[in-house]
Amino acid sequence: METIKISVRQFTILVILFSVGSSMLIIPGIIAKEAKQDAWIAAILGVGVALLLVKLYNVVGSIEPNMTLIEIIEKVLGKWVGKIVTIAFLFFTLVTSGEFLYFVGNFMSTEIMPETPILAFNILFAIVVIIGVRYGLETFARSAEIIFPWFIVLFVLFIILISPNVEIQNIQPVLEIKTKPMLHSVLLFISVFSLSPIVLLMIFPIAVNDAQQAQKAFFKGTFIAGIILVIIITLTIVVLGTEATAHLMYPSYALAKRIEIGNFLQRIEVIMASMWIITIFFKLIIYFYASVVGFAQLVNIKDYRPLTLPLGMIIVVLSIIVHPNIVESIQYNNGSWIPFGATFGLLLPLVLLIVAKVRKRT
């Protein structure tokens, strides 16, 4: 494994960009459907649960601070069971990478450039992801450091520009929601937002130069990402209203369409879309990095770089075949994704933890 280390700050930024990633665009719609105007409360609760999960990941990460998740799996569960679990985990990361690629293409072709085939977006995006992964963790962590201020600037700008359109009545009455839809929406929020960070265990704590600080950074990053999401969810509901938020395919993009200051600062939603492309790039690149490094460790080869091209090719194909249409993708995200994500995001770390404890005792 490479000895390259990234700084704690870079790790924090990666956590933020990773966690905001796809969530920014799809979460408002799916939880507004369940929680209506109280979606923001659900989001806050979701962030709370997410922090608990981060605690779990931190504990799992500290079982063997000098190993990636794949190595931990193999060590804790033994060679053969470990290999099988690893294969399942790689299946999870690869399919999810493909899915994110699908999101990119689908978003671009439904919202911005309808005539362009989704495949073209996916190939282009995959190429950049492959280049990034080949340059290595250190490089893309540094790029994240450069891009992050821009993301924050765009985000703050977004909030400022959209604020004249706020109609606070849209979130009233507060707390009208019943328990079940609340639970459901919190669950949906967690499933998108906080089951994925398990993938970060491929770089944490092994590749971060200060493991102790990195644990805090994990919390900090998740918390900041959570705040960003809560703000976006609240804004979509406050500006668009519950019904529109639930009906729209990409509510936060529609939100950006509302920006209009005077006669010149309008029609800038595509710039806002770039904010999302940046974050999903980092989400995808970490998933893909995890898949590639994981695969290299599975078959026991030292340099993961030769695997990037063929695996990149596979995720492009996956991105086309994962969902035949958008309806299936929504159904999957609201349905099977929850248990599927939970298997790796919740069950796997728990099992690892218990087995590791039991082994230590005996």
Binding site: I301, V322, Y332, S336
Partner: protein, 77 residues
């Protein structure tokens, strides 16, 4: 059809650029893994370009998790 030819060209370029140096350096294992993966990727891509219906892995996931998903849906509705 043209798509498939293009894929083959791209794959050949990938192979020469990536696999041959591996072989020269004597990394047989890497070479094997690379070739197998590339073969897999190529066949998938060509199948896709010829519009062969490839089963989506999501379908398997949905099949496996169906009871759980249904349970979740019913209890939370």
């Amino acid at each position: 059809m043209w798509m498939s030819v293009l894929i083959v060209v791209v794959v050949v370029v990938m192979f020469t650029a990536e696999a041959i140096p591996l072989l020269k350096k004597g990394n047989i294992k890497e070479f094997r893994v690379f070739s197998v993966l590339l073969l897999f990727g190529t066949s998938l891509s060509i199948a896709l370009s010829l519009k062969v219906a490839i089963p989506s892995p999501i379908d398997w996931i949905e099949f496996i998790y169906k009871p759980l998903t249904d349970w979740l849906q019913t209890t939370l509705k």
